[in-house]
Symmetry: C2
């Protein structure tokens, strides 16, 4: 059975989550390196000093956001890759999964895309490490595929990173398309399918 938290702990977690949620909203229009501590506490509705009960700094909060955001990306990546095999139908489904994830968690996707190369070192490192873990998982998934016969470790890792990067770039394009005319989303969908198809074809003939 699950341990029920005390009232105090439960309230603390609730406030902490409020910080994460508020920060994510504020980060839609700026980078983490310009996010102010007072800005976040104001959005949450608590005193500035309350911040220190939960995080050492905004960089620390950023690292917590990485865990939250990539936690939600996690299942999506696995499903996408296992779906991305080769046939046109599976590729179509993979791109749809990405689009749906962007619809469900736009702020998470924006945060990761923005801070992956952003100005806050600990956050960049956290994202890099998490994405590397993803890539290792994807690699394991790919290794199970009969098509992977004869592939060495480095080849598999290369393909895994290609898929992960491609997914993130596609997600970022879908994100931009949310604020564009209707047909932009369709254009992104077709582009993403084409690119996945080219990668699939390269994969088929890798050992020729």
């Amino acid at each position: 059975m699950s341990h029920t938290l005390g009232i105090r702990q439960a309230q603390k977690q609730k406030t902490r989550q409020a910080f994460l949620d508020a920060a994510l909203v504020l980060l839609e229009e700026q980078s983490l390196s310009s996010l102010g501590l007072r800005e976040v506490t104001r959005a949450v509705g608590v005193a500035p000093t309350a911040f220190y009960r939960h995080f050492r700094s905004t960089a620390d909060l950023g690292v917590a956001l990485v865990d939250e955001a990539l936690g939600s990306l996690h299942p999506m990546v696995r499903t996408t890759v296992s779906a991305a095999g080769d046939s046109g139908e599976r590729i179509t489904r993979a791109v749809e999964l990405i689009a749906r994830h962007v619809d469900a968690y736009p702020a998470h996707v924006r945060f990761i895309a923005r801070e992956r190369h952003g100005g806050v070192q600990p956050v960049r490192e956290a994202i890099r490490d998490q994405l590397a873990r993803f890539a290792e998982e994807v690699k394991a998934e790919l290794a199970n595929d009969p098509e992977a016969r004869g592939w060495n470790e480095d080849d598999l890792r290369m393909l895994a990173h290609l898929y992960v990067d491609q997914m993130l770039l596609t997600a970022s394009l879908f994100l931009e398309s949310l604020e564009a005319p209707e047909d932009e989303r369709e254009r992104v969908t077709l582009l993403a399918r084409r690119q996945l198809r080219l990668i699939s074809i390269g994969r088929h003939h890798w050992l020729d």
Copy 2:
């Protein structure tokens, strides 16, 4: 013949360039959205108010940096793509060109990678537009290749974007490797070659 600028104009351009250079240095450790006007003028050694003689805001300075940074990327992209054809030797050469560009202009590469998805809208848009122009050029280059027979416009555009994105990601990896142990650069080189090879193979069999 070239028009010689007056002393006043020449000095103004020099100061403007000093702003761009100083900003680029400051942006190695933060994002544009947190770059302060006074911070830049302090680095240049002029009064804060001098800033307004050259730029409306730091966002405006950012857009100017996009032009400078992508101006330098420009020839690199063209050469890389025309080199990236298919054979192992050409791919090796393409990856080397990317690595050399990162060595020559690390701050430019960092700036573009960082602000491409960064928190300052006009800068993001400037980068998107310039990269789209690049992709169109690359597409034209690809269309000249005999291998492009039977490819339609959308297929060519897809491949062009794939190359441009791949180049930027590779450049970004080389950038990170500058602060890592020696062998990291070699690992990035091998990864980038493998990925370009897979794309080349996919390209070969696209119309099968």
